[in-house]
Subunit: 125 residues, 2 copies
């Protein structure tokens, strides 16, 4: 698995790891039940503290993407299609929220946004 992190990103490292692993799971680069790198190994590879990896794993586990077992390792959870769809809907929601913020600040009307949607989705929206 290829994870690239940036020190001077405004996105915290633990969150960058989360996103990279989610993406690997979505793209099936990490398959069901497959073992993830151990917290210490990944920390060594990325030259960061294992606690930062731990935090990323903890949040991924809370969200249901992976499962940690003491003494054995951390594994990709059996795929839950609904969970993945929820995640994608959340991504879309984040984008819509960004659009909302921009429209409010820039005084752009909903009508104008609708037109863009029609153009890109090539359908009545």
């Amino acid at each position: 698995m290829n994870i690239i992190i940036s020190n001077n990103s405004s996105v915290p490292i633990f969150e960058q790891i989360e996103n990279a692993i989610k993406q690997a799971i979505f793209s099936n680069e990490l398959k069901e039940e497959e073992m993830l790198p151990s917290v210490r190994n990944l920390a060594n590879d990325l030259k960061i503290s294992f606690l930062t990896v731990k935090r990323a794993y903890d949040e991924l586990e809370k969200a249901g993407f992976i499962k940690s077992v003491q003494g054995k390792g951390t594994f990709v959870a059996p795929k839950n299609i609904e969970l993945i769809k929820e995640e994608k809907l959340k991504e879309i929601q984040d984008y819509i929220e960004k659009i909302y913020d921009i429209s409010k600040i820039s005084n752009i009307s909903e009508k104008e946004i609708k037109e863009l949607f029609k153009m890109i989705f090539e359908e009545d929206f």
Copy 2:
């Protein structure tokens, strides 16, 4: 000008001020060449440090929205708001394209996206 800030927002106060002033400029509530509240006055109104207001003004000036003159005050820059609006529309278009890509890959219907829009814009869309 009505600015409301929140202490426990994850958005820094200086950024909340930035956004509120941008919005006021785009909505023409603050007109070209119009004077903004002085750093100390706005700070007193919002019950925050004038340095926080100063920071917001500094960033707005760097972005070309306002212009500060020592001894006189801070003023809305004469600027082509339409030009900035075009840039913002382009940003929105990029986000919609991302949404389009996700929806195609994840088999998410336009109806579901419409629902999210209604939810966030809190209006029929």
